[in-house]
Subunit: 138 residues, 2 copies
DNA sequence: GTACGTGCAAATGATTTGCGTTAAG
DNA sequence: CTTAACGCAAATCATTTGCACGTAC
């Protein structure tokens, strides 16, 4: 009757949603939408890519996963603990890098920033991975 | 005869290219492709959006500008000095934040990373800008 | 039984590409 | 004059949406 019970929406734990979350939690990296789609297809052969898109958006909104800031295609991760990223400028590969001291240092810097209420921080390191370095040097 | 003179390609300093670079250097922020397109149209009314795309890619390849890592649409900046970004989680607004001490601290951390030759680093701060905070609190 | 979620296909939006023409060097 | 770059339109790729049907609760 009130027509305002949007927030009372029931969340349904469907197979598709659960497999996508499971895949992300077990995947060691930062998969794209296509990676996730290919990864869950073995379990759910009839799954549609739209379902993968919708669920990744849904899970990110519910903060069960995070979308990674990247150029080009979207990438996701289930690691919710603050950490940093090492990004290869050649192949785009992303590796996690944990450093509590860097996080603390950054948060301390953040506390001095005016006009913004900072919630979190992370650092990107850009360089060349061993594989790409080998290629360049011949 | 050798068919290998690809690197000898002549770079042409066209009006379009120069206006796009000028716009980025004078723009205080992190414009999208559309922002750049709208911004240079007053000077070059017949410019095509494909030209804007092609030149932004070109300028980024030549390292005269940088593409910013963001979700969704591409953003660019002409500020090549290492700096950090404050990103509003609500409206997506990005502000530059300079902190040499943070850069140095991060580079020092970077020097300990194995298996990657780190070239540069930057830190993102996520939070809510004053405008969005006001909206949320009513 | 009642939504919410799914699969599919179509729509949208961002970006790239092909091609005939223009202009920088 | 040579060829990179332009403008335009078509093509491609990523992502979202509408809708009829299915299924979690």
């Amino acid at each position: 009757m009130d027509g305002l019970n949007t927030s009372a929406k029931t969340i349904k734990y469907t197979n598709q949603r659960m497999e996508i979350l499971k895949f992300l939690r077990e995947f060691n990296g930062h998969p794209t939408v296509d990676d996730v789609y290919e990864g869950v297809k073995c379990k759910l052969s009839r799954i549609s890519k739209a379902t993968v898109y919708n669920n990744l958006r849904f899970l990110a909104e519910k903060e069960l996963i995070k979308e990674v800031n990247t150029k080009g295609v979207s990438r996701f991760e289930a690691n919710l603990v603050t950490h940093h990223h090492i990004i290869c400028l050649e192949c785009g590969d992303i590796k996690d890098y944990e450093s509590e001291e860097l996080t603390e240092y950054s948060l301390n810097v953040a506390s001095k920033i005016d006009g913004f209420k900072i919630e979190s921080t992370d650092t990107n390191f850009y360089g060349y991975c061993n594989k790409c370095r080998r290629k360049q040097n011949g």
